[in-house]
Symmetry: C2
Subunit: 122 residues, 2 copies
Amino acid sequence: MDEILLKKYADVENCPVRNVLDRFGDKWSTLVLLVLDDVAVIRFNEIHKMIDSISQKMLAVTLKSLEADGLIIRKQYPEIPPRVEYTLSERGASLIPHIKSLVQWANANFEDITKSRAAYKK
Amino acid sequence: MDEILLKKYADVENCPVRNVLDRFGDKWSTLVLLVLDDVAVIRFNEIHKMIDSISQKMLAVTLKSLEADGLIIRKQYPEIPPRVEYTLSERGASLIPHIKSLVQWANANFEDITKSRAAYKK
DNA sequence: TCTTTGACTTACCAAAAGTAAGTTAATAAC
DNA sequence: GTTATTAACTTACTTTTGGTAAGTCAAAGA
């Protein structure tokens, strides 16, 4: 194994792959993006209903980081009680096909994977 | 928002998207797969050198779960000190293009995202 | 006999995520 | 004119997940 390959994934700063996976390899980001793609416009509590297993705390954190990355747009109305609407940005929308291709693969292979996992008992 | 959409991502069991993301949305799986794709055959300690930020513990856990899912193949030689070689399975290999398409997107958008994130200060 | 070697485990500690309660301010109900 | 309600979050606390460093195992070499 040569030296260049050895260093390729070594440190986070200089490794684009690491940068990507650190950003989207979290538990909720991709799922939230898929939901936004599905509904176009959606409010905080509606997302929470659709993904009932996410906590409000983590939904807030996830939305904030997606907004910071410019993947979603947050529009707040000056009303009380507050109304906030989330939509995909263009950048976010351009990511969707790539995520969906992953999901398709997973759907196609889900059964086999589940069988493998059941057979593997150690 | 209609009822069907509301339920779509609701619970883990019945949601294929959730199943996928729970499986590959962990911190290390995709990166390990990419490394295996890069080198074809590789030993435990070599992976650890290439991804120096992963702990031995998590590398062991990750490899075990990838093996359980039938995405990688573990070949152990009856030697001492032990020798274990890891390779992608066919199933694992079929996943690689989808991961790479995500990585390409990320490379293309990395700079802009970094700028957005820097500009976002709250 | 003692050290080295590679692929892991284990015990302990730190960081991330989950839970449930609290905050805010205007309108509605009593 | 208090009290309750409402949406989008925070905060304090607990649990789960991941990181660190040391330990294990068995043969071959010094």
